[in-house]
Symmetry: C2
Amino acid sequence: MLTKSSTELVRQRNSVLVLATLRRHGPLAHTEISEFTRLSSATISAITADLEKAQIIEKSEQQPASGRGRPRVLLRQRRDCGYLIVVIISSDAVQYSLVDYAGKLIDRFSEQRSHDPDGASRFTNSVREGLLRILARSRIEQQKVLLISISSKGLVNSSEPVLVWSPIFGSDQIDFESALRPEWQAKIILDNETLLVAAALGAHEENVKGADFRSLAALSLGHSIGLGIVRRTSHGGHDVSAPNFGHMLHMANGGLCRCGTRGCIEAYAGFYAILRTAFEVPLDTIPAKFVPLAELDKIAARARQGHRISGFAFRQAGLALGNGLSRMLSLTERMPIAITGVGTRYYDLLRQGIEEGLGQSHVVRMEGMPELRVAADEQNLVFEGHLNRALAVIDEDIVVAGGQGGD
Amino acid sequence: MLTKSSTELVRQRNSVLVLATLRRHGPLAHTEISEFTRLSSATISAITADLEKAQIIEKSEQQPASGRGRPRVLLRQRRDCGYLIVVIISSDAVQYSLVDYAGKLIDRFSEQRSHDPDGASRFTNSVREGLLRILARSRIEQQKVLLISISSKGLVNSSEPVLVWSPIFGSDQIDFESALRPEWQAKIILDNETLLVAAALGAHEENVKGADFRSLAALSLGHSIGLGIVRRTSHGGHDVSAPNFGHMLHMANGGLCRCGTRGCIEAYAGFYAILRTAFEVPLDTIPAKFVPLAELDKIAARARQGHRISGFAFRQAGLALGNGLSRMLSLTERMPIAITGVGTRYYDLLRQGIEEGLGQSHVVRMEGMPELRVAADEQNLVFEGHLNRALAVIDEDIVVAGGQGGD
DNA sequence: ATTTTTTTCTCGACAGTCGAGAAATTTAGT
DNA sequence: ACTAAATTTCTCGACTGTCGAGAAAAAAAT
């Protein structure tokens, strides 16, 4: 409330609102936009006229008139209004996707990541090449790319596109802004991967529950552990955050983690940690760099057949996760927890430990066990989260720029 | 962004902005308001004229003209525009304060709390009586009381004035809304005590650092442990929350807590817990209901003289606090931590443990130790926090009501 | 008395939203 | 073929808001 309001700001907000409802519900007629936004028909006329003049939306070709009366003319975003490049960095590959302003996928490819630890500078070079390649393949002008949306596991600076810590590069910071800036004018945003999963799940949840949706957490299980939290803000927006959950302290002076600290949650619940426990390797052993999934599948199979120490490894992991989640719930309100990631295939083995770990805390005893659910297809959710956030950012930028630049 | 904007909303926001700057900087002239709010002089004229007509602000008596030119006329809130009752519930007393719209204390008294555990219903009755008493003493019309702002230690429902859990009444919920509603038309808000401390400290911090202020946590040490967090929101407001920190899990299957769960932070860092450790009572002993402060002072004195087990008790408490804080920092951004409450008198004994507990986590190793400071005079901060929040709420209510009621 | 300086108020321009009704355009009925 | 009904879109005038510029007010300095 520290900043003043003006009538222009009202128009901006309402313009963004119109674009957002167009995103949520697809191409809409004048009347429908008015219903959804609760803005008067006259206002919709004014706003859509502006947006059309600025070449942001267009009238769609008239579809078969259904019912009597003057036929509706649908409004939709102009595909060629601008483009978005989504870069998803995972432990073994980098996926590049080119998307148009309407959210439609135009081109996509993946590049294997070299496992060289020489790291940061070589990696940013490969990202530069990847970006140029997807641009070249599609023959789109570079200026038309309005936004580059990047995601990775790890800890991200909330205000700048800087990867502060990642399981891949450790604390070699990667600043995408400075790496891409002279070459690209596009805005660059960077988000934690699980944050995007949470954002996508939150959007789903809100579509179902409407105003009843309050908050949700996404827990991603894999080589490392990620957590994303979505909350509805008072004005109806979504506030998302990606805490450093995997490296939250589970137990003081506990097992050695990849990050060099002792007792992180990941040092009990990450894949390498499960392996370590299952093979009864001392907890202060420096953890394996990379654990083949097949190896963990074997342990899981043994655990399912009743092999004690294998089962114990998963149970131990579940306890760490459950304790950690209970601590998170002590700091937030009660919320459902969606579990994603490769690790969901071991959910049958983890579940009991998670629930027991949750149950050891005061909040859970008071408020009851939070709803736990499994959300498969993490990859799609990540991409969906990218689109949700990136297109919203583009809408806002385009509206404020359109107001200043005029035409 | 789900809700539409309109020109009336602009006026509302700007009116609230004017009232807020008047609160922050005391009585101001036309010109000064314009400078602080960045609103044009014409707009200030319009808004202040409205507010004056609605009897919310008034022109002050002209003070000695200083300097040449037309003398300024200061604008200030009308004291009699409305009143606020602040109710501070602590473990041994309830304090009632009557405050006018300008934030000036008019009357105050405290009532001893009966230590009867018969609890909730008798307690709400005593609060009803207290409220009527402070009203009667001041001869103010009941309708003029616009807000009753209550605080207590414990867990508070964020949307309704319901005390969900408190160290005093346990999980006997107290719903102040239903307890006071037929009798009082005033709005009723309830906040956690440490949340108010955090709010007050946040306001101070912002006055000093301005826009550089990002967030802050207040940790209250006493018979129970409280935590409040303030964060600046994107539009310049403050977002405060009071997590259930004292009963966050410190150690699975650890010491027995007053709440009945095992391993809460409070079961290591609350006063009774320090006593328990110092006297080497088993950790599963049901904790003492109430610990005289003198008892703890004795232990502290012994600890300062080098008595091992006494020192260990404080160190243990510090470790629990430090670990808990590190977990909080894993879920939020780095922020300074202000320590308040009676327990600050043992800070010399707790400090090492707190820092060690913090240092055991990944975040602290990465981002460095957060700034720790001691904020004395918790009682005043609580009251200040009440005023900050309550008067802001009144301002907003009065503006939206004034717009509708009109005159 | 006049000028200077500072503050407050007022006026016209401009931007935004809204409700009502006109205009447009199709289907149904005769 | 023509008219009536239905439905959507567009337009106009009223209202509310902010802003900049300059007029009016009021005291000190000359």
